[in-house]
């Protein structure tokens, strides 16, 4: 499997560390109630198909939101998490 790092281009999966669905970026504020907070942290769409998830490119230190497919393993794009959040 090969993924896309916006800094480094297409690289082997061995260079990356995975961290699950990009839903994790939508961190609620501390004013949000505990149940909603727990749901944010634990419940997942977990799609069979298109998904966006978090990958850390170990050599360059970039956190990347990768758009890919969980059924075909097609990889469409990679965006810097810091850009996605802006």
């Amino acid at each position: 499997m090969r993924l896309i790092c916006p800094h480094c281009g297409e690289r082997d999966r061995r260079e990356f560390t995975y961290q699950g669905a990009a839903e994790i970026l939508d961190r609620p504020s501390r004013e949000v109630g505990n149940d909603d907070w727990a749901d944010y942290l634990h419940l997942r769409e977990n799609p069979a198909g298109e998904t966006k998830d978090m990958w850390y490119h170990d050599p360059c230190g970039a956190w990347i939101v990768v758009h890919r497919d969980t059924v075909t393993h097609a990889v469409h794009s990679g965006e810097l998490a810091s850009e996605v959040r802006k």
């Binding site: 499997m1 082997d12 999966r13 061995r14 560390t17 995975y18 961290q19 699950g20 669905a21 994790i24 505990n34 149940d35 727990a38 749901d39 942290l41 634990h42 419940l43 997942r44 769409e45 977990n46 799609p47 069979a48 998904t51 998830d53 969980t70 059924v71 075909t72 393993h73």
Partner: protein
Amino acid sequence: MRYSGFKVFTEGLTGNKGWKPVWRDPKPKSEYDIVLIGGGGHGLSTAYYLAKNHGLTNIAVLEKGYIGGGNVGRNTTIVRANYSLPGNSEFYSHSLKLWENLESELNYNVMHSQRGLINLFHSDGQRDAFARRGNAMINQGDDAILLDREGVRQHLPYLDFDNIRFPVYGGLLHPRGGTARHDAVAWGYARGADKRGVDLIQNCEVTGIDIEGGQVRGVRTSRGVIRAKKVAMVAAGRSGQVAAMAGMRLPIESHILQAFVTEGLKPVIHHVVSFGMGHFYISQSDKGGLVFGGDLDFYSSYAQRGNLPMKEHVMEAAMTLMPMIGKARVLRSWGGIMDMSPDGSPIIDKTHIDGLFVNCGWNYGGFKAVPASGWAYAHLIATGEPHETAKRYRLDRFRTGRGIMDEEGTGSQHNLH
């Protein structure tokens, strides 16, 4: 039809003409008391125990493919009760007891082989953690023996004791641990459930769950609408998609776990060996194939196939631990879809919808859980109350923070197990 050595003998003499179908192929009825979504190991054992323990037989098991086609037929067949934390301890202990009587229970040889499981450790800290686990096993009434390095050598003389990257300090031996023939477990439960009147309906995909006024009414399927008083989801690997039909999101991410088998070899590995530093575990099947596996590929996937990095990592672990294995050749590799829960422990619970139940989140541990999961889920569905051995497998533990069961200690949030 009752199976026995005598029956095999008499059939052999008469040309094997008298064997009967192991299960029927019923057409789905328009209504059942209980519909189980998923004809894998857990669904089939649930159906079996609903019929056997609770006398409920107006039941359909709906399977979108073939019976036993999910993870029950694509795992490394390990059966053990060596958990550390309350909640898991009593559940897997119960499961192992059911395993130990499964052949006679089902009149089907699932080849449960208690050849002993050894978990290796490689530091003083790991030894202490395994000691804690082994003591928990004994406190639960199960068995465990702490082996030192020489003790491991007695059992596993073929490990590299001299040059290995992470030296073997010792191992935790679980003598009652072992393996079973995975397909046979599914088939044995299927046959038993069918015999008791449960309808096993293959090639029947559930496409919707009907809910009215907070109460489940039935399911829509590729073979028509089926009404039901109770609907139980038990579709590991597709838990999220099934739950979505009921408008639910689950604390599950689906991951790929690969497994491997070599060509047939004369007996050489007599135990189940687990090498935590390399996420590697191995046993030898009765046919002679070395059956082994490793860690998740570590990306969410429904592809039931994996990639080279983890394959190679598994082979690397094999080579550092037991370099005598080098000339064995991998014949086949495959992948299963793991329902990964945040804390690595499963869920057997009601949902907020009346009559709708959920059984999911078995992580890597689903195979050995098949008997007890069916037992407990049947109890919950039939009585509305959690079974004694599974009452900690609650869906709300992530909201309350109470009773989180993180055996690995890597965290109770996703992608840490």
